[in-house]
Amino acid sequence: MGMAYSRAAAGLVCDLLDDLDYVEYPYELLMCNAAAAEMACNSTAVLHCASLSLASGDPPDAAVLHTVADWADRLDSPWVGEHFAFVAARNPGPWAGDDPGREDRVFNIGFAISPPLNADTVESVAEALAAVVTVVRRPFVIENSPVYFPMPGSGMGQGEAFTALTRLSDVGVLMDLAHLLITCDTMGLDPLAELRRFPLDRVVEVHLSGVSRDSGVLWDDHASAPVAAEYELLNVVLHDAPVRAITHEYNWAPRFPADVARREIDRTHQILGSR
C-alpha cells in the first residue's frame, strides 16, 4: 500500500508513513525539491514519471532519460511508472497564423495527454520504450491516461491499445481506476467491460484517487477520495491481475484530511484481506 507524494501532500504522507509500504515520488518533483529528494532517499520509494512523452513520435530526450535512470537507481525503485501519453508535440508544418520561421515549434503542454489510439501510436510507443530501457535499466509500467474527448485518428479503444502494446513490449500496466472511469464516461463505455479489454495479467500497480464532475465533464481529482465504482473495479483487477502495489493519490489537496486517507487505506486493506 503506497501513497503519492507532492509538495501539498508532504505532511499527509509523513503522518501516514507507518501505514504505508512505500511512497511514490514524481520524478519531476525530485529534480527540484530537496525535501522530497531527501525523504525519497530515506524511505521505500517507487519512481513515477510524466516527462518522457512516449507517444509524441520523437525519441525521449537523452538528458531526461539519464536523470530518470539516475533517480531509479538512487531510489532502487522496483519499477518506473510512465503514461501512455504525449506531453509535447512538434508542429508538423506551417499554419496561416504562424510567424515566418517559427514553423518548427514544439508545443509543450506540460500535462500527459492520451494520444490517438491506433496501431501507429502503439508501435511508436513500443519503439520509444525500447529506447528508454536501454538507458533506464528497470522494468517499466505504463499508465492509462484519462480520455477527455474523442481523439481524432483513433481506431481502437484504450484496452485494445494496451493489449497491443504489451504484445510488442515487455512492460507492465499501471491501471489508474479513476482514469478508467473518466475515459468510459467520456466515450460512453461500460467501465467493467472496458477494464476486461486491458491485459489484466500485466497489471502490476493500481492507482486510486477521486473524480469530480464540473461543467458536465468528469475530471481527475487527486483532492478527493475514490468513488465506490473504483473499489468495485479494484475487486475485479485483484481477482485477475498479479497486482503488487496499490497507490492512493491525494496529492492535489492542500490539506487532505489524514483520517479520510486512513479510512480509504483501511478500506483497501479490507478488500485485500477478503480475497
Binding site: P92, F107, P115, S124
Partner: protein
C-alpha cells in the same frame, strides 16, 4: 510514427496551449485542416471534435498546474468545489495568469484578483465567496508578509518609548490593525469546514461580521483574529499611532462619547490588540474611568447604545420634565442670538447682554436658571458664567438644539402630524451649524466613500436627500473626474449646497436640484446630464413611512425605472417607536428621532433589516449587503440594494 498521427498530436497540443489556434480551429476548421495537411480519414474525426471540451481541458490543465496556490486559500477552493465553479474560475485565470516561474506571491495575487472579479461579476452564484477570499488573502498576507511595506511594519515598534507622545495609542503590531467587515462570516465557514459539517446552508447571509487582524510584536509571532462589535472595531480601526482618543472620537462622528472611546481603547489594550501610550497614562485613565472590563460583546443591538447619552432621572420627575423643556427652549434661543458661543470664555451676563443688545435682567435670570438646572452653564467667582463644552460637544449641542427645538419644535406643539410647520431654515441651520471645516464633514471618515469605491462607483452618483451636498462635494473635491446630482426638497439646504459647491469650485460637476423627489426624479434627464452609475440616500427613506410602506416602494419603483439594475446605497436608521415598542429599552436618540418623525408626518422607519428587505422586495429590488452598527445613539445601517430592472 506517421506524419498524420504527428499532425493530430500537434494540433491537439497547440489547441491546448494557444487559445487563438483553438478559436481558428473552431471557427474555420476546414482551412486549418487544409493548412495542417490533415487527410480525409482523420479529417472526419476533426470535424466532430468538440472544441469546447478541448477548451475546458486547457482550463483543467491550468487548474492542475496551479494546485499549489490553494494551499493559501483552502476554504475558497472548498466553496468553489461545493458550488461546482472551480473550473469556471480557472477559465478566467488561465487567460490572465502570470508566467510560470513567477513567485508564489505574484501567482496567488493574480488568482485572488481573478476570484474577486469573478465573485463580483457573479454575485450570489457562490454565496460567501468574496468574503472567504478576502479573509484568506488577508491571513495569507499577514502570515507571509506579502504586501505589507517593511517601512510601515517597522516604524511603529522602532520608536523609542520616550519619542512617543504620551497621549497617543499605537497598534500593537508591526503595522496598522486591519479591520474587515464581512457579510458571510469566514470563521463560521472555516469552523464548519474543519468539523466536516459544511453544507450549503452555511452560506446564506449572516449578520455583517467585523474581524480585526493583528500580528504579535515579534517577528514570526502568530496572526490573531478578533471578532468585534462593529462599533468597537471601528474605534480600534482608527488607532494608527497618530491619533489621540479625542481625535478618534471626533472621527467617529458627532455624538460619540469620548469616555467610551477611552474605555474601548483600554479594553483593547488589555486584550493585546493595541498598545496603550505609557504605563503612567494607562494608570491615570484606569483611575479616571474605573473598571474597563472586556470588550463589548457582539451585536450592539442587544445592549445599551454604545454612543449617546442616557437620561438621568432626578428626585422630582415632574420638575425635571418641566425644567428640561424650559432649558431646551432657552438654550436654543441663546444659541440663535450667539450667546452660547459668547459664554465660551468666562463672562458676566450683564456684559454679554450689553454686547448682544438684549435685556440684561432677562439674560442674567436665564443664565442663572440654566446653571442651576443643567450641566451646560457653570457659575464662577465674581458672577461670571462659562459654557464648559469642548468644540465637539458645543457643535453637537448646537446641532441637536437647532434640529429638535428649532426645526421640529412647532411640530411638537401641534396635535397630530404637522409637516407644514417644520422650520426648513432651522433644519438647514442644524446641518450647517455643526460643520466648520472639511475635516469635520459628516462624510469624512464615513463608510460610504469606501463602499462606493468597493462597488466601483467612481462617478455618476445620484444623491437623494443630498442636504447641504456634503457627500457629493467631498467626492468631487477628492476626484476631479467625479460628477454627481443631488436632490433635496429643502430649498434652504439646496441653497447652501450650491453655495458650498461654488466655494469648493465643483459647481459644474455637482448639480443640485430642489423639489419633491418624486417630481424631480420623474422629470430630470439623469443620464443626459452625466451617466449615472449608482444612487445614494442618507436619512431620506426614513421620511417615507407615515402611511405604511407605499411611498418607499413607489420611490424605489421610480428609481428602478430611471436607473434600472444599478446600485442604491441607503444610509439610514432602524426605528424604535411603534406597535412592538419595548418600554424596557429606555430612552435613546433614535427614539427622539422617531418622535419628531411622527410629529412631522414622516413616520417611523422599519425596525428590522427584514422589514426593510420586504420593502425592497415589494419594489422588485434586492438587498445585496448590509452594514449595521450604533452611531450617535442610533442603530444605523448602510444597505447596498440592487434596483429592479426598468419597466
Amino acid at each position: 510514427m506517421t506524419v498524420e498521427t504527428r499532425a493530430v498530436n500537434a494540433m491537439i497540443a497547440r489547441g491546448l496551449v494557444e487559445p487563438s489556434f483553438l478559436v481558428a480551429l473552431d471557427q474555420d476548421r476546414g482551412r486549418v485542416l487544409d493548412d495542417m495537411g490533415i487527410s480525409s480519414g482523420t479529417r472526419q474525426d476533426f470535424i466532430g471534435l468538440d472544441c469546447h471540451r478541448l477548451a475546458l481541458m486547457a482550463t483543467f490543465i491550468c487548474k492542475v498546474k496551479n494546485n499549489d496556490l490553494w494551499s493559501t486559500l483552502p476554504l475558497t477552493r472548498a466553496l468553489l468545489q461545493e458550488y461546482g465553479s472551480e473550473l469556471e474560475v480557472f477559465g478566467v485565470f488561465s487567460r490572465r495568469s502570470p508566467q510560470r516561474g513567477g513567485s508564489l506571491h505574484e501567482r496567488v495575487s493574480a488568482l485572488v484578483e481573478c476570484l474577486l472579479s469573478y465573485a463580483s461579476a457573479r454575485r450570489g452564484q457562490v454565496p460567501g465567496l468574496e468574503d472567504v477570499v478576502r479573509h484568506e488573502w488577508l491571513v495569507a498576507r499577514f502570515s507571509n508578509g506579502w504586501g505589507l511595506e517593511a517601512s510601515s511594519l517597522d516604524t511603529v515598534d522602532d520608536d523609542p518609548p520616550e519619542a512617543r507622545p504620551a497621549n497617543l495609542w499605537r497598534p500593537r503590531i508591526r503595522g496598522t490593525v486591519l479591520v474587515q467587515s464581512y457579510e458571510h462570516d469566514p470563521l463560521r465557514v472555516q469552523l464548519a469546514w474543519q468539523a466536516r459539517e459544511w453544507t450549503r446552508s452555511m452560506a446564506p447571509p449572516t449578520e455583517p461580521t467585523f474581524l480585526c487582524y493583528s500580528l504579535g510584536d515579534t517577528p514570526g509571532s502568530r496572526l490573531r483574529v478578533f471578532r468585534m462589535d462593529p462599533a468597537v472595531a471601528l474605534i480600534v480601526g482608527w488607532v494608527d499611532g497618530q491619533r489621540s482618543p479625542i481625535e478618534i472620537a471626533n472621527l467617529m462622528g458627532a455624538g460619540t462619547d469620548a469616555a467610551l472611546v477611552v474605555r474601548v481603547l483600554l479594553a483593547a489594550a488589555q486584550e493585546g490588540i493595541i498598545r496603550s501610550p505609557s504605563a503612567e497614562v494607562l494608570a491615570a485613565l484606569q483611575r479616571h474611568h474605573g473598571d474597563v472590563g472586556g470588550l463589548p460583546a457582539k451585536s450592539s443591538k442587544e445592549h445599551e447604545p454604545l454612543f449617546g447619552g442616557s437620561r438621568q432621572r432626578g428626585p422630582d420627575q415632574v420638575l425635571d420634565l418641566v425644567s428640561g423643556y424650559a432649558a431646551g427652549r432657552l438654550l436654543y434661543t441663546l444659541q440663535r442670538i450667539g450667546a452660547l458661543g459668547r459664554f465660551g470664555t468666562p463672562s458676566r451676563a450683564a456684559s454679554v447682554a450689553v454686547e448682544l443688545g438684549v435685556d440684561r435682567a432677562w439674560l442674567e435670570a436665564v443664565v442663572q436658571f440654566l446653571a442651576v438646572t443643567g450641566g451646560v452653564f457653570r457659575q464662577l467667582d465674581g458672577g461670571r458664567y462659562v459654557v464648559e463644552l469642548d468644540e465637539r460637544e458645543r457643535q453637537r449641542l448646537n446641532f441637536e438644539l437647532t434640529k429638535f427645538v428649532g426645526a421640529y419644535g412647532a411640530c411638537l406643539d401641534a396635535v397630530g402630524p404637522a409637516p407644514d410647520v417644520v422650520d426648513a431654515d432651522a433644519f438647514a441651520d442644524a446641518f450647517s451649524a455643526s460643520v466648520h471645516s472639511r475635516a469635520d464633514r459628516p462624510y469624512h471618515g464615513s463608510l460610504i466613500p469606501g463602499l462606493l469605491r468597493e462597488f466601483g462607483v467612481a462617478s455618476g452618483l445620484l444623491d437623494l436627500g443630498c442636504g447641504t451636498g456634503d457627500l457629493l462635494i467631498d467626492l468631487a473635491v477628492s476626484d476631479e473626474g467625479f460628477h454627481g446630482i443631488g436632490i433635496d426638497e429643502n430649498r434652504a439646504m439646496c441653497a447652501r449646497a450650491v453655495a458650498e459647491a461654488g466655494r469648493a469650485a465643483v459647481l459644474r460637476r455637482v448639480r443640485i436640484f430642489s423639489g419633491d423627489a418624486f417630481d424631480v426624479l420623474a422629470n430630470l434627464p439623469l443620464d443626459a446630464m452625466c451617466p449615472m452609475t449608482a444612487a445614494h440616500s442618507a436619512s431620506f427613506f426614513n421620511a417615507l413611512f407615515a402611511n405604511g410602506h407605499r411611498r418607499a416602494v413607489d420611490i424605489l419603483t421610480l428609481l428602478s425605472d430611471r436607473l434600472g439594475r444599478r446600485l442604491l446605497f441607503i444610509d439610514d436608521y432602524y426605528g424604535q417607536l411603534g406597535v412592538d415598542f419595548d418600554a424596557h429599552v429606555g430612552l435613546t436618540w433614535s427614539m427622539m428621532q422617531d418622535l419628531v418623525q411622527v410629529c412631522s408626518g414622516q413616520g417611523v422607519p422599519p425596525r428590522e433589516r427584514v422589514d426593510w428587505e420586504a420593502v425592497y422586495q415589494r419594489a422588485g429590488c434586492r438587498l445585496l449587503r448590509s452594514y449595521e452598527g450604533t452611531l450617535g445613539g442610533f442603530p444605523r445601517f448602510i444597505h447596498v440594494v440592487q434596483l429592479a430592472a426598468a419597466s
